[in-house]
Structure formats: C-alpha cells, structure tokens
Amino acid sequence: MIELSGITKTYAKSAVKAVDDLSVSVRDGEIFGFLGPNGAGKTTTIKALTGVLRPDAGSARIDGIDVAADPIAAKRRIGYVTDNPELFARLKAAEYLNFVGDVYGVSSADRRARTSEYATLFGIKDALGASIGSFSYGMKQKLLVTASLLHDPQNWVLDEPMVGLDPKAAFALKEIMRARAAAGKAVFFSTHVMEVAEKMCDRLAIVNKGRIVFTGTLAELKAMQGADGSLESLFLELVDDSAEESA
C-alpha cells in the first residue's frame, strides 16, 4: 500500500513546482497507473515515494511506514525500476543481482530461484555472465525488472517500464504485474501512453504540470467522455494547457 499526501517539490535549480500538492493512494491488490505527459512530474513523484528525493512538503507512507521517518524499513518494502537503465555498466549482470540481493538481504536460495524464473521469462538468462555495458537497452531494462523482484516486494514501483521492451517482454511484464496484484500486492507504474494504462490499470491518476487532474477507475474516466469518445482524446483534453488556463 502506497499513500502519498500533499507531496510538493521544487528543484533547487528551478523556479516552478515539479510536483504540487499531489495526493494518491495505491491499495494492495491493485495495479495503479500514473499517467502524464513528459515533464508532468511522474519521475519526481516516484523519487519522493522511493526516498530518493525529500519532498518540500507532504508525506509518503509505504504499508503505513513513513518514508521520511523510517526510510530503511519503507524502502525494504519497495521494488523499484528506475527510468534510467544506463547504470552500473561496469558490473556484470550477476554482480549487479548479487549487489541488489545483498542490499535487500535476499537469501541465496531465493535469489537463485527468482533470477532463474525472471531471467528465463525475459530471455536474458544466457547473458547473466556478461557485463551490463554490453547489454542492449531492452536487456538492461529486463535486468532492472528482474533485480527489482529479487526480494519479492510488497510494493512494486516502475517508472516507464514499457519503454524499450519488445512485445513479448512487454507481455511478460504485464503478466507479472497482474499476477502480483492478484497475490495482494500493490503495483504502481508510470507511463505517458494512454493505451498501456487503459489495458492494465485497475485505477489511474492523470498528472499534468505537477498536479493531479484525474483519479479514479477506468470506468469513471470513460464516463467523462472525450471529444470523439476515445480515452486518448480525453487524456489530451485533460492535459491540454490552454484549456486548463482558460478554465
């Protein structure tokens, strides 16, 4: 369970609020989509909830644990897939998995079983001995996903996870998301593609310029009716700046 309330963040080097009084909660057993255009504040929000950034105001609670008060305990309950898989190029895939496993305190048996499972699913098993620097973008993404699941987290947070994945891998990823939600775990992911959100989410939030412009189920969103009745045009209307300003 992830509860964000009143998160506000202005970067030191910028004048505008990247995230402005944002509140969202993700329940156990649901897939929650976080939808918004580029620069809307999705990554910033995710960084605040994973403890990477300290928000100027507001709080993030993971399974009831305040991230600011007990960051270690909160972080243990999160599996995080960053939007930047270009990290740790100098490590071998297995070394990276061991690093993440050790930091989260995953037993040898668990990490072997999960690595084997997800690496097989994503087809990167044969590359586990290779250096991450030699991986393709999609392979790196798959490795990040595998590593984020090593400790079987209660809350799975993914920042733009579909980017760079081929259809087969995207399908596998969606299957894992569904399976986790079905097992009573929370899944929170960001995307700027309405279609992905539409197919996957139990509930979703649309964010624009750091503010939530919609939260609810897909059915509730559909009830709002876009210009031509499609969700895509509805989404575009919601994040249309000129419309927002005249409103």
């Binding site: 970067y11 030191a12 080097k13 960084k47 994973t50 403890g51 990477v52 950034l53 300290r54 960051p71 270690i72 305990a73 972080k75 243990r76 999160i78 995080y80 960053t82 930047n84 270009e86 990290l87 740790f88 100098r90 490590l91 297995a94 070394e95 998995l97 061991n98 690093f99 993440v100 496993g101 050790d102 930091v103 989260y104 305190g105 995953v106 037993s107 040898s108 990490r111 072997r112 690595t115 084997s116 690496a119 098993k125 044969d126 590359a127 586990l128 001995g129 290779a130 250096s131 620097g133 030699s134």
Partner: protein
C-alpha cells in the same frame, strides 16, 4: 559556425567539462560566485606552485651555465624539455581520449567529414599541450629575460616556440596510434588501452628518473652540474641538435633580432605545422574508421544448462557492507581513467622508486660526506621520511576525495536502496582506507629498504603513515560529500577536473610537509614521531568520523538526483 569549429568547441567542453551557458534570466547566486572565486584561487595556487618550480629549475640551470658562459643553452634545453614533456603527456592524453565515449559513435552517424572530426579532437588535446609547453617556456623566458635582457622579439619567438613545439609531438603520437588502432583490433578496447597507457607511463617515469640520475651526479659544483645536464656534451644538447624544431626554436630565441633569427622562426612555423597538416590530411579517414568497434564488448553467452549452473554458482548471499565495499572497488578499478589516475599510483610510484633504488644502489649513503645525513636518518628522520612518504602514497589515490562525484549517476538509485547513507559513505571510506593501508605499507617499505631502516624505525613510520593517510582520506571524503561534482558527461571530469582532488593533493603536501618540518626542527626520535604523528591524526580521525555519517546523511538528502 563551421562544423570543425563547433566540433572543437564540443570536444574542448566535454574534455574540460566547462559549464554551459547560463539559462537566460537566472542570476548567479552568492554561493556560485564564491565557488568560482575559490576554484580560480586554486588554479592560481597550483599554477603558481608549478611555475615557481619551473622558474627555480631554470634559474639554477642558468646560474650554472652562466659560470661557463653557455647560458644560451638554457633556451635549447627549454625547447627540448617542452618537446619531451608534450610528447609524453600528449601521447598519454591522445591515447586515453582516442575514443572518448559513445557520443563519438553518434557523431559518426552525422554528416561530418572525418577531417573535421579528427581535427577537432586534435585541437582539444592540443589545448592542454600548448598550455603545458607555454608554461615551461614562460618560466624560461622570465629567467632569461631578467638576466640577459634580450631583444623584445625574443619573447615573440619564445611564445611562438611554446605554442608550436607541441604540434609535431602530438602529430607523432597520432601517427603511431592511428595505424596501430586501425590494424590491431584487439587494442580497440578501453581496458587494453588503459594497460598500454599505464605501461608507457611507467616506462616514461623510469626513463626520466634514470635520465636524471645519470645526468645529475652528486657533485657540489653548480657549473659542472649544469654542464653535465645541459652543456654541449649532454644528452639534452645532443637531442636538441638532432631535432630540427628544437634547434630552430633555439636559433630564433638566441638571436631574436637578426635575419637568421627570423628565418629560423619562419622555418619553425613550417616545420611544426607540417606534421599536424599531414596527419590530418592523410589519416583522418583511418581515424574515423578506427573509432568503430570501440564499444564492442566480449560477450560470453551461457548455454541453457550452463546458465543454471552459473546461477547456482555465482549468486550467493553476502553481508551488505562488504558488498558495498566491493562495489566501490569495481566502480573504481573498472573505469580506465579512474584506475590510471587513482590506484595505479600505488603501483606506479613504487615501481619507479624501486628502479631508482636499483640504479642508485647505496652509492648515496655510503659516501663518507653523507655520514651526517646517515646520523640524521638513524636519529629519527628515517622513520619520519618513511611515514610521510607512506602517508602520501596512501592518500594520493584520489579515491576518497572523488568518491561521491564519481557515483553521481548512480546516486538516485543508491538512495532508493534500503541502506543508510552513513553505511554507504562508510563503504567509500573503507575502500579508501584499504588503499591507504596498501599505500602506507608500500611507501614505508620502500623507504625503509632505500634508507636501510631498522624494524623499529619502519614500524614507527608505518604507525604514523596509517594514521596520517586515514585522516587525509577521511578529510577528502568529507570534502567530496560536502561539495561533490555531480554534473558531468565524461567520467574523467569527476576525477581529473574535480577541485576536491586538487585541494586534497595540496592539502596532503601541506600537512605532510608541515609534519616533516616539525619532526626535523624538534629533532624527533622515531618513537616521538610515531607518538605525535600517530596519535594526533588518529585522534583527529576519530573526532571527524563520529559526526560524519550524520553529516553525510544530510548532504545526500539535499542532493537532487
């Protein structure tokens, strides 16, 4: 702007990691201005130190040569030194920047002529070379100018020589490297290049040392010393005579206002421009082609059964802290630029010193004139020297004072992990301290061998060395936590253009020099030295360490990844 110019600008910027233009409307804050002033002061300080060193060196040489009326040779020496210095530095720089990063592959996909690409790279490397060479020439010109009052044209030719002499040296470096990297595919790999570059660096260091040893026998007479070093019969003179650009530069500066001086200067211009022109004209295409394949890595694919066995064998639990320390090691040692500039020092310096020792035998201390020195060494200075050299080696790896900067890209991810910022920083400290210990042992060991110290002296030195280097490493880490360099495109910037590394190098020299001075004026025995310079730094270390994790926690939280 022409493609060549804008490419040159791009390369110079990413080499030296210059900040881009300020966004319009944003004002420089007081803190930024303070930072700028601090960095400027630092640059002045370093340049001043180096300049002072060069000037003193030239002055000594001048005085010696003037006694035998051969002061003109000072200029030939300057030309040869500028050439040699830039040849070696140029070779290493051009090699280590031959393939900068994947940005270059993207450049290859653009409609850029190979000549513009290579020319721009050449210009970027040349900038450092020219600065280095000018530095040396200016030092010589200052000494010679004050002493001899030459014609004003002397300065013009001297400046010209300073700017031109690196050109053939750099052209020669590429003349070797481009064919080499075109034909030897296995060399097209950053790691291999790192090893080759390191070996060349060691060989050069050794060569230079042996050269100085041979050239400077311990004689008291400055004239004789100068004559053996730069006189007509010396290697420098011989080299200068055999190398036309140095000869031409010498002639132009020696008779600046004459027609022959002008002719020499013009010939120098032609001679020095020819090399780069030819290399750019003939080898640009080969250079561009040789860039392809640099980012290829050897991938070992596992078979189906092999993968299962691999997982069972390799995936194994360890405690988090050692894992984090291991990550620090891997991060440092697998990045060629880091390895060369950091831990390599612990290997390279000892090798050079070991060879020096081998060349020198005990000629120096066996000399009866040196009896006083021997007594001093046995009276405690030996232990002090060993301790200070060990501490310097243990703290000159730049591991600690660049630790946070080097990790800039991974910081956001690291901060999402369930590890305390304190533990994360202590892993960095642990990494630095391990190298500090290795450096201490190696440094103290070498000096002990070199000076034939007894076990007690060596141990006293080691105690002080461990304490001093630990303190310096912690101070360095503190500095890089307080003020890391987080924005860079090129990992080199996190290390080489990191003000913290320079501050710590100077700080270490200051602290260790001061310690040595105190040990000397108070004529400390080995035991006293170990007591004072072991306990005081150890106490300071403990006092700094206690509040460090909390400080680090606050600092890391404030960094916006």
């Amino acid at each position: 702007m022409s493609v060549f110019l804008s490419l040159s600008k791009l390369y110079v910027k990413s080499f030296y990691n210059l900040p881009g233009k300020k966004a319009p409307g944003s004002k420089a804050t007081g803190k930024e201005i303070g930072k700028l002033v601090g960095v400027a002061a630092l640059v002045v300080l370093v340049a001043g130190n180096l300049g002072y060193l060069f000037v003193v060196m030239n002055l000594n040489l001048y005085q010696g040569l003037a006694m035998v009326g051969m002061q003109g040779l000072l200029l030939l020496n300057a030309a040869v030194m500028a050439t040699m210095l830039t040849l070696v530095v140029g070779f290493m720089t051009s090699l280590s920047t031959y393939y900068l990063n994947d940005m270059e592959l993207q450049l290859l996909s653009m409609p850029i002529r190979p000549r513009a690409l290579f020319g721009a790279k050449f210009v970027a490397v040349y900038v450092t070379e020219a600065a280095l060479s000018m530095f040396f020439m200016v030092a010589t010109m200052v000494v010679f100018g004050i002493k001899e009052r030459p014609h004003p044209l002397f300065y013009a030719w001297g400046t010209l020589a300073g700017l031109l002499l690196p050109l053939p040296a750099l052209a020669a470096s590429y003349l070797i490297q481009i064919p080499l990297l075109t034909f030897a595919r296995f060399l097209r790999n950053k790691k291999t290049i790192m090893i080759v570059g390191g070996v060349i660096g060691i060989l050069f260091g050794l060569g230079l040392n042996i050269y100085f040893q041979r050239m400077m026998p311990p004689v008291a007479d400055p004239a004789a010393r100068a004559a053996t070093f730069a006189g007509p019969g010396s290697a420098v003179s011989a080299m200068g005579r055999g190398y036309p650009p140095a000869m031409l530069a010498w002639r132009a500066m020696a008779s600046p206002a004459s027609a022959s001086g002008l002719v020499a200067a013009l010939m120098l211009l032609v001679a020095c421009a020819a090399g780069p022109a030819l290399v750019v004209l003939l080898l640009s295409g080969a250079y561009a082609r040789s860039l392809v394949g640099f980012n290829e890595a050897h991938i070992r694919k596992l078979s189906k059964d092999g993968a299962e066995a691999f997982i069972a064998r390799r995936l194994r639990r360890r405690r988090p802290f050692p894992t984090m320390v291991k990550r620090e090691f891997d991060m440092m040692n697998r990045e060629p630029m880091y390895l060369l500039n950091g831990p390599f020092i612990v290997v390279m310096l000892p090798l050079i010193m070991g060879i020096m020792y081998a060349v020198q035998k005990d000629a120096l201390l066996a000399d009866p004139d040196m009896a006083g020195v021997r007594a001093l060494i046995d009276g405690g200075m030996g232990a002090a020297l060993a301790g200070l050299v060990g501490a310097f080696m243990g703290s000159s790896t730049s591991i600690a004072c660049t630790a946070v900067s080097r990790d800039a890209k991974a910081l956001p991810f690291i901060k999402s992990l369930p590890i305390g910022p304190g533990a994360y920083l202590l892993a960095k400290l642990g990494h630095a301290l391990i190298f500090g210990a290795v450096g201490s042992v190696v440094g103290v060991g070498l000096i002990s061998l070199f000076l034939r110290l007894g076990a007690a002296d060596a141990l006293a030195g080691l105690a002080a060395s461990l304490a001093l280097s630990s303190l310096l490493n912690l101070a360095g880490l503190w500095l890089d936590t307080a003020n890391p360099r987080l924005e860079w495109d090129n990992p080199i910037a996190a290390m080489k253009q990191n003000p913290n590394a320079v501050i710590m190098m100077l700080g270490a020299m200051g602290l260790l020099g001061g310690a040595g001075y105190l040990a000397f004026v108070w004529s400390m025995s080995a035991g006293e030295f170990a007591l004072w310079f072991g306990l005081a730094p150890a106490a300071a270390f403990a006092a700094l360490l206690a509040p460090f994790p909390r400080f680090g926690e606050r600092r890391l939280a404030a960094m916006e990844g």
